[in-house]
């Protein structure tokens, strides 16, 4: 793990990058990293995130700045800007059921090629996908998702990079911290080693590549 400034971290991200962003309706999102992505005007981004949040909040800021060309998400219902960009063909959106979305990211982080899920069988979601029968039940084969970068927000990070999360801000952050080539983390509090008890660490230190230093 390396401690870096938010400017240095975002400078590593090229235009056109494929990026996972933690958070659920803007809760548990690395806001400082997103603000800096907007400031450095990284364009043509391919984003993997649960939702599009709302304008001005969390991942919503990237749509405000029209930086996203492709979005893999479970819904965009509360962000009219993302919807407009989709209807104007400026934004391609892949919609994925939320449980499938979580499993595909987890598979990507855990070295699995994919999972068999009953969700979506017999619906529009099944179109173009392989169906596999196990003991007489039909499942969809849903393949792994990975990204070049994961932008993760934790509650506590220690000096080594161990992370813990608070309440409903955990959401997709721990699984995304496993599913990207480079993992960049913001934390509400950076604390000494040992403050997070071993049993309470959710993301072990070796998974974190860069921790954003305080302001």
């Amino acid at each position: 793990m390396m401690a870096v400034s938010v400017e240095e971290a975002v400078a590593m991200i090229p235009a056109g990058a494929r990026i996972m962003v933690g958070g659920f309706m803007g809760v548990g999102t690395p806001e400082r990293l997103l603000d800096e992505v907007v400031r450095q005007h990284k364009t043509d981004l391919s984003i993997v995130s649960n939702d599009a949040a709302t304008p001005g909040k969390g991942i919503g800021k990237l749509f405000d700045a029209a930086l996203v060309s492709r979005l893999t998400a479970t819904h965009i219902g509360l962000n009219p800007k993302a919807q407009q960009q989709m209807l104007a063909n400026q934004l391609a959106v892949d919609l994925v059921p939320q449980g499938t979305f979580a499993e595909r990211i987890r598979a990507g982080g855990c070295g699995l090629g994919g999972v068999l899920t009953p969700t979506g069988v017999g619906t529009l979601v099944a179109e173009g996908k392989r169906q596999i029968e196990v003991d007489g039940t039909t499942f969809l084969l849903e393949t792994a998702i990975r990204a070049q970068f994961a932008l993760v927000h934790a509650f506590l990070a220690d000096y080594l990079g161990n992370l813990s999360y608070a309440l409903t801000a955990r959401n997709f952050n721990p699984i995304m911290a496993m599913a990207a080539d480079t993992v960049i983390v913001t934390a509400e509090h950076i604390v000494p080693v040992g403050v997070i008890a071993p049993d309470h660490v959710v993301t072990p230190a070796p998974l974190v590549d860069y921790l954003i230093t305080n302001g």
Binding site: V27, Q83, L87, G99, T123, A166, R170, I175, V202
Partner: protein, 216 residues
């Protein structure tokens, strides 16, 4: 009593002590208001919490404790939090005893359509498909008809949420159950006759010998 309240009160009667319950947005959210104080059920919020409590008092909200819509909630003693893979492991794995969801259409087979209206904006399915596929019981809480058109249809014309049939539909007019591809009228709402239900129900309804009035 308005239709939403009828629905919410009636659905609340379907919950049992110890149940893990997931409530969708809209009418389903109201169900929590009608659970008796001495009936201990666990409410899950699919963004990663079991043990959701009421909206916190003024000044007590925490930005990292919200429902799936991002609105502040509270947590009860004994609550637990977890990541999204776990949250949907609970849902898909059959650990959620009851989910209550809104609906656009339910057909005679109990198939639910509630996520997409073709030609209109596509907001996305969120967690609905996993909930309908995975929860032990799926209860749809919705108005019986919209703009005079039955939402209990012979066959869904909107895209399905799942091919797994729902257990029960509770509307402002009736309680309907599904088995073997047939919809049965279990109860009518207070002051609503069987004939009135049939008049606004497109799907064929099996009418048992006795159809009691909802007790709410």
């Amino acid at each position: 009593m308005d239709g939403q309240t009828v629905i919410a009160r009636r659905v609340a009667k379907e919950l049992h002590a110890g149940d893990l319950v997931n409530l969708g947005i809209g009418i389903p959210t109201l169900v929590a208001n009608y659970v008796p104080a001495d009936l201990k059920v666990f409410f899950q919020s699919e963004n990663g919490l079991i043990g959701t409590g009421p909206i916190p008092e003024q000044g007590m909200a925490h930005p990292l404790l919200t429902d799936a819509g991002g609105r502040p909630i509270s947590a009860l003693p004994g609550a637990s939090t977890f990541d999204s893979a776990m949250s949907f492991g609970l849902i898909r794995g059959g650990h959620v005893d009851v989910t209550v969801l809104g609906g656009l259409q339910v057909d005679a087979h109990g198939h639910l359509a509630n996520w997409m209206i073709p030609g209109k904006m596509v907001p996305g399915m969120g967690g609905a498909m996993d909930l309908v596929t995975g929860a032990k019981r799926v209860i749809v809480a919705m108005q019986h008809a919209a703009k005079g058109k039955s939402k209990i249809v012979a066959r869904c014309t909107l895209p399905l949420t799942s091919t797994r049939p729902v257990s029960l539909v509770v509307t402002d007019m009736a309680v309907i159950a599904f088995s073997d591809g047939k919809a049965s009228l279990l109860e009518t709402a207070p002051g609503v006759s069987i004939a009135e239900v049939l008049a606004v129900t497109e799907a064929e309804l099996v009418i048992p010998d006795t159809v009691p009035e909802m007790k709410i």
